[in-house]
Symmetry: C2
Subunit: 100 residues, 2 copies
Amino acid sequence: MSPFEALAEPNRRRLLDLLRAGERPAGELVAAMDLSQPGVSKHLKALREAGLVSVRADGQQRIYRLEARRLADLDAWLKPYRHFWADHLDALEGHLERDQ
Amino acid sequence: MSPFEALAEPNRRRLLDLLRAGERPAGELVAAMDLSQPGVSKHLKALREAGLVSVRADGQQRIYRLEARRLADLDAWLKPYRHFWADHLDALEGHLERDQ
DNA sequence: CAGTTATATTTCTTAATAAGAATATATCGG
DNA sequence: CCGATATATTCTTATTAAGAAATATAACTG
């Protein structure tokens, strides 16, 4: 599954948002989501296959971690579009868009 | 259809890429894509519903135009993740790994 | 080993989506 | 109005994805 497809699902975006605060065992993610345990597990699998998260075992727990490198690909796709609204903002509030 | 869902389909991303060069009639988009006319028309509809393109009539042609504002939403979603690969900006924001 | 906890996989059902073919709508030139 | 062009909308069918429930696997505990 491509990163774009993976991000199409709101629950998966939410899982990534949760992982932004740091790595977490699957159980905590299940508790934080309004989804069944198998449901979360399946979405985590999709995120793994998209390369957006990685997992390591710690005893019987599976610790999930955000893999933001793949989001950089998305960011790169977005880059040539950015000037379309950056130009508009430039006129209003100055030159924000200097990073790459 | 949300922008995220709209972008999940590669042909639709390609249509947006084509529109980056400027507005174009549907027919030119059909010619540039390796898809049937109805196929392109349907993807354009999805992009319209996601707010990613707009259309205006010019005679019997429909001129499509990129609406990059909606991509700004995606850019905004991505923003809190950007720190993860933009290591050189760490000094600005501090490190996020502490609170795990 | 048996029981328990943590997580993953399978199965089922249902809903969404895609492509292709055929057809419909709208606009133009005569 | 007619024929031609440009584009959109069905319709059908196949694939895919989602949630729920049940079950499986793997590791820890005693």
